[in-house]
């Protein structure tokens, strides 16, 4: 998150054909389609006569084991997955434990159609073939219990160790695909990640420790209780430290006359604290994390393998909310919040052709407060109306950059701004199997405004079959970094006149439940992005400036097959074909894999005590900034999870990158490396004790 110093060295473009990868992907596609056909064919005989799952036929024990299938993100109120005006994936804490996910990035990687890149500093989420260099996930809205996490400088949605909440505190996650600006405003551009924290009594008292390769350990202590007065309390603190990889070899830095230099600055250390108090309809929650990450890659033209070279991110908020349900279907909700984000980066430069080196400090300081309120109710039979508004007051949006000693200032910029939005949505059941959902939101910013509608038609001829047709628009407001970052004309200039970028998406979804054990989802989409905010270079002086220049077309299909059985066996296979290209020229975007295949299965070796859960990911080649292609990657993890090893003790052992696949993710413009090499085989042992 710092200024772009020095032009990257472009490597010669080698036009490596990716025919092999297409063939592999072709095989995978055939298999998936075959599976789809098989599954469609199989239960067909009895299907027509038995369209409805009759819950009265199930035993009490079976019912008690059943999870309530609802999502809230897609419409800002609880509804069944099949009635949501979007394609939604839910990941539960059960899956997080069984598959041994370590960070939100690991969880995101398991979701159909998503991919994650890592540059050994931050994690970048790719959605629908779109992952821009220098974009800190600003095109995905990240919420914790509905509280917006994207900050007010970079709009970043943090997903790696930089994500402030310990993932052990997650109850479940909803990933909602497609535009969400009609309800949520800016950033809900490609999708939304809504994280729901665990209930206090469910947490009780927990201690958890884990040890991982590369000298990484982590500890957590949590306390949750519900008192007779009705007060619910949850307190949790976590600490982690990782030395990271030692002696990382980057050929790009091996030209040193004294022999190759190895990087040893991969450490990652974090502390976080979460608390929540609820009494009746009122909830007060607070979250804080500080993370410091060493940068081993020599990014931004810093002196390779020197210290200090790190970024530190502090993120915190206090949130007071009120929710009241009225009758069966009505609810009102209100929230006030105060948020803070502080970023500090220290970078070591060789400005005089030798020692002493100069330490450059890059800082951002964001503080904001806000309020939102909305109501949801059924004013008429067959209608469900939601409306509300949101206000955000930015108290500070400061960016600065200076050399520490001798002091030299390059940037000292601060802004105050407010923005607000109003939305309304109606769900109208035209007749029993047909639901129309239509909504619109107006957002006002100091220099621009934006109107974003969404409409969807949901047709459910029998309860096991759902078709959705969705049209939606979304926007992303230019952030402070894009509008105001300038360092006195050394490398970057500001562009306060940036306009919001806009996406229009058409999507068709078919969700099918077969019998009661498995379901499939097929979705096809086409999006057009206009006025995309991109980093460009001024032809006259070579300075970096953000402009609304590009148009992007993104088209794709996503298939998934998911299953859960009584025996405890569960699994998921998914395939995504994505074509994200520059409109007009048809050039494929940077870091945009054409094919993604994922498969995971959790096998109960001894239900409900012992589970073996392997997971496989395939990612087809991605183009780097220098125009090269990465290898296609087959990546596997496996976790052995033991529940109640001794009373109250859960234990898990995981191996990550089981085949020790050597691969790299495309690097952003700040890196000399064209691809950033990723971790080889690694392990983790984890113990959680509940008492």
């Amino acid at each position: 998150m710092i200024r772009y110093t020095g032009e990257r060295m472009k490597r010669p473009v080698s036009k490596r054909g990716d025919m092999d990868s297409y063939r592999t992907a072709g095989h995978a596609l055939v298999i998936i389609l075959l599976a789809q056909a098989l599954v469609v064919g199989l239960p067909n005989a009895g299907q027509a006569d038995d369209p409805v799952i009759d819950s009265t036929q199930l035993s009490l024990e079976e019912l008690m084991d059943m999870r309530i299938a609802t999502v809230v993100s897609a419409s800002r109120h609880e509804q069944r997955v099949t009635e949501a005006p979007a394609s939604v994936t839910v990941i539960t804490s059960d899956e997080i434990r069984k598959y041994g996910y370590r960070t939100l990035a690991d969880i995101m990687r398991s979701i159909p159609g998503l991919y994650v890149s890592y540059d050994r500093n931050y994690n970048y989420l790719g959605v629908r073939g779109f992952s821009r260099p220098g974009d800190y996930n600003s095109r995905v809205l990240l919420l914790i219990d509905g509280h917006r996490l994207n900050d007010n400088i970079y709009d970043s949605a943090t997903i790696g160790t930089e994500f402030p909440l310990d993932i052990d505190l997650i109850d479940h996650i909803e990933f909602t695909r497609g535009p969400g600006s009609s309800l949520y405003g800016s950033n809900a551009f490609f999708g939304m990640v809504n994280i729901f924290t665990r209930k206090a009594p469910d947490v009780a008292r927990e201690l958890s420790v884990s040890a991982e390769g590369d000298e990484t350990w982590k500890g957590r202590g949590s306390y949750g209780a519900r008192y007779d007065s009705g007060l619910e309390l949850l307190l949790s603190g976590s600490l982690s430290y990782g030395n990271g990889q030692r002696n990382i070899y980057y050929p790009e830095y091996s030209q040193d006359p004294n022999g190759p230099v190895y990087a040893n600055n991969d450490y990652d250390t974090a502390k976080s604290f979460y608390s929540r108090f609820s009494l009746g309809d009122v909830t007060l929650s607070g979250l804080y994390q500080t993370r410091e990450k060493g940068i081993p890659t020599g990014s931004y033209g810093t002196v390779f393998n020197s210290k200090p070279n790190y970024t530190s991110d502090d993120r915190g908020y206090v949130d007071l909310s009120y929710r009241r349900t009225i009758g069966d279907t009505g609810s009102i909700f209100a929230r006030v919040f105060y948020d803070a984000y502080v970023y500090e980066g220290k970078y070591t430069y060789d400005k005089s052709g030798g020692l002493p080196y100069v330490v450059n400090q890059d800082m951002a300081n964001g503080r904001w407060w806000g309020a939102e309120a909305f109501a949801s109710f059924s004013p008429l039979q067959d209608h469900h109306l939601s409306f509300g508004g949101e206000f955000k007051g930015n108290l500070a949006m400061a960016q600065s950059n200076f050399d520490v000693s001798p002091y030299q200032g390059f940037l000292d910029d601060n802004h105050h701004a407010t923005n607000w939005g109003l939305f309304v949505q109606d769900e109208y059941r035209i007749f029993q199997p047909l639901l129309l959902s239509a909504g619109i939101r107006y957002d006002y910013y100091d220099r621009f405004d934006s109107i974003n509608p969404r409409a969807s038609l949901i047709y459910q001829p029998v309860s096991t079959t759902t078709f959705k047709l969705i049209y939606g628009e979304a926007f992303r407001a230019p952030n402070m970094y894009e509008r105001y970052y300038n360092d006195g004309g050394t490398t970057s200039i500001a562009n306060p006149n940036l306009k919001p970028e806009k996406i229009r998406t058409y999507e068709a979804v078919w969700e099918q439940y077969y019998g009661t054990a498995y379901n499939t989802s097929v979705s096809a989409y086409h999006s057009r992005i206009d006025n995309l905010i991109s980093q460009t270079t001024e032809p006259l002086n070579g300075l970096i400036v953000f402009r609304n220049v590009e148009k992007i077309d993104a088209t794709g299909i996503e298939l998934s097959l998911q299953s859960k059985w009584e025996s405890g066996l569960q699994g998921k296979i998914s395939y995504a074909l994505q074509e994200a290209t520059l409109a007009g020229s048809g050039t494929r975007l940077y870091n945009s894999p054409r094919n993604l295949v994922k498969a995971n299965v959790s096998i109960p070796l001894l239900n409900p005590v012992l589970f073996l859960s392997p997971e496989l990911h395939y990612t087809s080649p991605r183009q780097t900034l220098a125009g090269n292609w990465t290898k296609d990657v087959v990546f596997a993890n496996v976790t052995l999870f033991c529940h109640d090893l001794v009373k109250g003790m859960d234990a898990s052992a995981s191996i990550y990158n089981l085949f020790d696949t050597s691969y790299g993710d495309p690097g952003g413009g700040e890196h000399l490396q064209d691809t950033i090499r990723q971790d080889g085989i690694n392990f983790r042992l984890k113990l959680t004790y509940r008492f």
Partner: protein, 184 residues
């Protein structure tokens, strides 16, 4: 290396597909909230003994729903099901006084203002009261649905059942969380 990996990958996928297609005897692990609750409500009746004088002569068991309509749809699934040699009849009640003749009364969260009246009526006439309002069992109801970890659980207030002369089979009690509380 890559081809080897791909081979493993494809075999793995085939394995998973095999598992998918072979497992036909299975049960959905997710259902709508009220579908789960209505299934449970039906199951409850199998573990309940009403005093003979509270049951009518028309060989029906009357399941009543107090509250608004929309979320009730799945509760109507009990209509026509059997309780011993009786047929279940589902009807809606709008006032506590209309609950006369009910054997099982499901009280919606919207009815908090009438709660005391419903509970008093229910206790006098041996009506099994069930609700998903907060602390229902502790406040004098007999069975209260609670939600835990996105699953439906239930609490039973034995004193309230005893005062209504309703006998609950121990098998049901084993699955429930027993709470003590007020009775009417």
């Amino acid at each position: 290396m890559r081809m080897k990996g791909t081979g493993i990958f494809i075999s793995f996928i085939l394995m998973v597909i095999l598992a998918f297609t072979l497992s036909v005897t299975a049960v959905a692990a997710e259902l709508g909230e009220y579908e789960i609750k209505s299934g449970m409500l039906y199951n409850f009746t199998n573990f309940i003994e009403w005093p003979a004088e509270s049951l009518d002569n028309a060989r029906t068991l009357s399941v009543c729903i107090a509250g608004e309509k929309p979320a009730n749809q799945s509760l109507y699934r009990l209509q026509g099901k059997r309780y011993k040699d009786r047929m279940i009849v589902v009807r809606q009640v709008r006032e506590p006084v209309n609950a006369i003749g009910c054997n099982l009364l499901f009280i919606h969260g919207s009815e908090t203002s009438h709660l005391t009246a419903y509970l008093q009526m229910a206790q006098k006439r041996s009506i099994l009261t069930v609700s998903d309002m907060e602390n229902f069992a502790a406040n004098g109801g007999i069975i209260g649905f609670i939600e835990q970890d996105r699953k439906v659980r239930f609490e039973i207030n034995l004193d309230a059942a005893r005062h209504a002369k309703i006998v609950i089979n121990s098998q049901l009690l084993k699955l429930a969380r027993i709470v003590s509380g007020r009775k009417y």
